[in-house]
Symmetry: C2
Subunit: 305 residues, 2 copies
């Protein structure tokens, strides 16, 4: 089975990790949201790309959902002492990623070239692509005005009430080198359990129409998100957060939808949206959970297409 | 006694530290070479300024002569793994200095403003000024061509034979804010035991004529430098490295010269250059040595002016 997966940070990274355990490198490409990327302290930071790569490399911090395991914080401690903006935490090992990425971008290398080299250095064998080599910036439109994503997400801790989203630069952004080919050769596309509004929508906007069967895994379980503000965003936009709401969000795209057992009572209504439904345990607490869900999703796709 | 000291890295930093122990903040200003400054990995690095500040703050690594005590190297280890240029070592805590300095410079702050803030954060009470807020770049002219200073000093380990030096940008560089006032109000100027060619000459070129009594401490002891390439440079320029050669180098400037006891036999010849001479132990192995030399130099100046 040849798959292209679309992923944001934590939840998406976990399923991508599971897929990488069961699919050969030539059979899996992961296209990652870069709408959350930003410049901070003069460094170019790609939170979702780094989370996916660190997770696939087995280097991710399992506690936080971002950053690296066994991290030290001496640069950050000293940046704070010097009065530098300290709302975005950067570990010492993680800093190397941002410093070297920024250096190479300034030399004119593309983000996809750079991430390919980094993945090689980190021992990540599956292709991890930024959605685009051109900048796309997710802006969260809130009651307190427009906020760049990290400003909303980290600095303001998702507190301002959301009214909408826009993706600056998306009109001019091309899919990154290799993304088009991956989508062409894929038998199916998996939308990983990431935030539909701010992790997946930017990717979908960049890659445009998909002429392959698309399957989504709900990031909402029992009306809540495992991590992140997706459920809060749904509520503030006047939509009851649920697996059903996610299925409706992607509606026209989907051949099939994977949702958690705790939401089994919604399965019939989702089927009514004209898509196949698979109900299983989607909460990924362990590496085994990730592999198990990946296997089940791939099996479901195999049966559906 | 109100003193302005001119300093480069290690040796200069040690005497500056000694002077800071015995002079009140209002009576000591240290003007530091910035000809060694360079951009590396997108960061603006000031080796001499940082060595002087770290030394005065009691944060310097006593083993290396550069960088910070108790340093960790996780960013560097990871930069190497990513294939980044790794010939210039940057510790995790030290990185914070370069990141925040670079960020502020890009915001339009001057180097002297930034270092004043940093000194405050580090608890350095004496004024430490860059020689200029404009860039001056020391170029080492060698048999293998021109090399920017750090390229020569760190990357090439001072191996290429030296033919001369030039200081790019020195014509347009003004003394940093406060340097002129410090020189005006000083009773004497001390040239610390730093490399005359590449640490002190750039400062002298920037600040121009000094109409105060100037005293130098020889960085050459028994024909050798405690650290750094000064003796090697003298030899390659066809000059026998000695305290006498240093006194001749600064000749027209000096009211007095301080040299080590092992060089006592040269004292008479130095006096013949029309300057007062003070012979003592100038090797600073401990903080006590630094204070002792500082006291003796200040006493010598007091008697000489």
């Amino acid at each position: 089975m040849r798959i292209t997966a679309l992923a944001g940070g934590v939840g998406g990274a976990k399923l991508a990790h599971g897929l990488a355990q069961i699919l050969l490198p030539e059979n899996l490409t992961i296209i990652v949201n870069t709408g959350d990327d930003f410049e901070h302290l003069g460094l170019y930071i790609c939170p979702d790309l780094d989370t996916v790569c660190y997770t696939l490399a087995g280097m991710a911090n399992p506690e936080t959902g971002w950053g690296r395991a066994g991290e030290t914080w001496n640069a950050m401690t000293n940046l704070k002492r010097l009065g530098a903006p300290d709302w975005f935490n950067l570990g010492d090992s993680d800093l190397a990623t941002h410093i070297e990425r920024t250096r190479r971008l300034k030399e004119g290398q593309t983000l996809s070239q750079i991430m390919r080299d980094f993945c090689k250095a980190w021992g990540v064998k599956h292709a991890v692509l930024p959605m685009s080599d051109q900048p796309v910036r997710t802006i969260v439109e809130t009651e307190e005005g427009d906020l760049p994503f990290q400003e909303y997400f980290v600095h303001r801790r998702c507190e301002p009430r959301v009214q909408g989203f826009r993706f600056e630069g998306v009109g001019a952004a091309e899919p990154a080198c290799g993304a088009y080919e991956a989508l062409q050769s894929a038998e199916a596309v998996i939308i990983c359990p990431s935030n539909p509004w701010v992790s997946i929508d930017p990717i979908l906007r960049v890659i445009g129409e998909i002429d392959k069967p698309v399957f989504a895994v709900s990031p909402i379980i029992g009306g809540q998100t495992v991590k992140g503000p997706a459920a809060k965003m749904y509520r503030e936009l006047g939509i009851e957060p649920s697996a059903l709401a996610v299925a409706k969000h992607y509606r026209s795209l989907l051949t099939g939808f994977v949702m958690d057992s705790v939401d089994a009572q919604l399965a019939e209504e989702v089927q009514g949206l004209n898509m196949r439904v698979f109900v299983t345990n989607t909460l990924m607490k362990s590496l085994d959970d990730r592999m198990q869900l990946a296997k089940e999703v791939v099996r479901f796709i195999g049966e559906a297409i």
